[in-house]
């Protein structure tokens, strides 16, 4: 059974149809890609999956459990996390603090609000920050990092949270090519070594073709095509959609 199963998901904003009967599956342990021209409804679909707004129709199941009625923090605590297209980090806290507060909140009692941070956390944080290449800057305020670099603590924070499934919304937007290569490598390692399933929205074709094992393509709010990277690359409908033939 798939880890994430979206079936017949529809979302309208007034008269605008953002998603129309979208179905997709993310099997456990895989890296799945989601592409589509601007305005095709990718981020809306992400938002529906993680609980930002309710679906008009359809169902979303995570590990067999229906989650379309749950809210964002509840879904996050189930182990499905998302990163944002516009990078979001806690700007006035240091990178280490950003990481400390990102540890999983799953079984938190009322008094754990006042928990201190154990030593083991720090060791794990140091290793994760080293993993994303931020160890030397760990004591800087996260907001003082450059825009491109801010993607790194965001990614590290997501890993700190020990998600089962990670939804990445354009992880390479606004990053220089060298950093992109490093990021692809790290995403793959997170998938292989930490066993985190990934669902990635990406505009950069080189990135997504390298990364994903299976790709879904949206256009005008509808599922246009799906298949292996090579199939998608050669699909005439996908090419047309990107060139604006519709």
């Amino acid at each position: 059974m798939s880890m994430l199963q979206v079936s017949g998901a529809s979302k309208r904003f007034g008269g605008v149809i953002a998603n129309e009967k979208i179905s997709l599956e993310v099997p456990e342990g895989k890296i799945i890609g989601l592409i589509g021209p601007n305005g095709s409804g990718k981020t809306t679909l992400f938002n529906s999956i993680v609980g930002y707004h309710p679906l008009d129709d359809g169902s979303i199941r995570f590990e067999g459990q229906e989650i379309s009625h749950l809210r964002v923090p509840e879904i996050a605590r189930l182990g499905m996390l998302r990163t944002f297209q516009q990078t979001r980090i806690y700007g006035k806290m240091t990178c280490v603090q950003n990481m400390q507060i990102s540890k999983p909140n799953r079984n938190e009692g009322l008094m754990s609000m006042f928990d201190r941070f154990p030593k083991e956390d720090l060791a794990r944080i140091d290793h994760l920050l080293e993993f994303v290449g931020l160890y030397s800057k760990r004591n800087l305020l996260a907001g003082d990092l450059s825009f491109g670099q801010q993607k790194l603590p965001e990614f590290a924070m997501a890993l700190m949270n020990e998600p089962k499934l990670l939804l990445l919304d354009e992880p390479t937007a606004g990053i220089n090519p060298t950093l992109i290569n490093g990021l692809i490598d790290r995403l793959k390692r997170a998938n292989e070594e930490m066993g985190i399933t990934l669902l990635v929205i990406e505009h950069n074709m080189r990135v997504i073709m390298n990364l994903a094992e299976h790709i879904y393509c949206l256009a005008h709010g509808e599922m246009l095509a799906e298949g292996k990277p090579e199939e998608i690359q050669n699909d005439q409908r996908v090419i047309d959609a990107y060139l604006g033939a519709h």
Partner: protein, 349 residues
Amino acid sequence: MRNTILLVLGTIIAFAVPFMFPAYQNQFAMLWLMILFALTWDLMGGQMGYNSFGNVVFFGVGMYITAVIQRDLYFDIEEYAHVAGRIDALTPDQYLTGIFLGMGVSGIVTVLVAIILGAGILGLRGHYFAICTLGLTIAAGEIASGIDYIGAGSGIVTPVFPTELMAKGMFFYFVFMVLAVGTFLTNKWMLAGRFGLAVNAIRDDEDKAEAMGIRTKRYKTMAWATSAFFLSMAGGAAGNLFGFIDPINVAFAGATFGVWMVLMAILGGKGTIWGPVIGAAIFHITQELFWTYLFGWQRVALGAMIVGIVVFFPQGIMGFLRQHWPHLFGHKVDEQTTVEQGATKESEA
């Protein structure tokens, strides 16, 4: 070691002040109250980024609850109207029982009030929260002005302090000292752990905090309730220090206390542990100097100072220091790029 010396020195000074300056006991009591104001506000507005103009509501509610308990414990209302002016109205025992029972009850009640109000308005963000709390203060004053049981628009006269106990200023100096120090230590303890980073995260990006699974509502309610707890107890004592409770100008005084608590926290540096304390001290002392030396123009001077604070010190004193000398606060780049190198360096050191 140096901290211990400073701590001992600070304690000695704090205890010596009311004996050294008997004429200024009330002033120093007010100083502790101002510190408490700034600290409780900073927990919400500074650390969590929820700019509340409604915290003074808890202060007023505590004031009323304490006064009513002090009154109803030993008198019925009819009788109280006649005895209130009499010096020997309450024995020291009665007075102490009334005031401390009142403060305790108001602490508990306002925590509940904060939880109930919070369920509704803590969902608002940014300016909407600020405006809503501003309305809350005004509404509270107007509502209190309409309830006969608590004296309506004419307010309540609090019981006369039994001076055979000790000097009034001395008593309240220590009451406010204990409350302010208690607030400081509570803030410090709470902020040192997960709570501190969680409310900071809410300040920096609440959407992100939710997306990471943080139970934001729980943290917000906790901060709001903690503020309420200390403010209401301070309110109970303050009503007795002032001797008179007016619903709009004393209890729910949004235009004075309500704004001052914001300014003091901003002046010292919001979102820092010591900032509110420093800010409160500077603000209170300056304000008193204006009253003494610029009488007639004191409001103008205060207004000018407020504008000056907001324009030139938007980050506050601590924020200014942090901005200009970030390495003093530990925000610096390491030469080591891996955990291994970092560990080697630490073992050498």
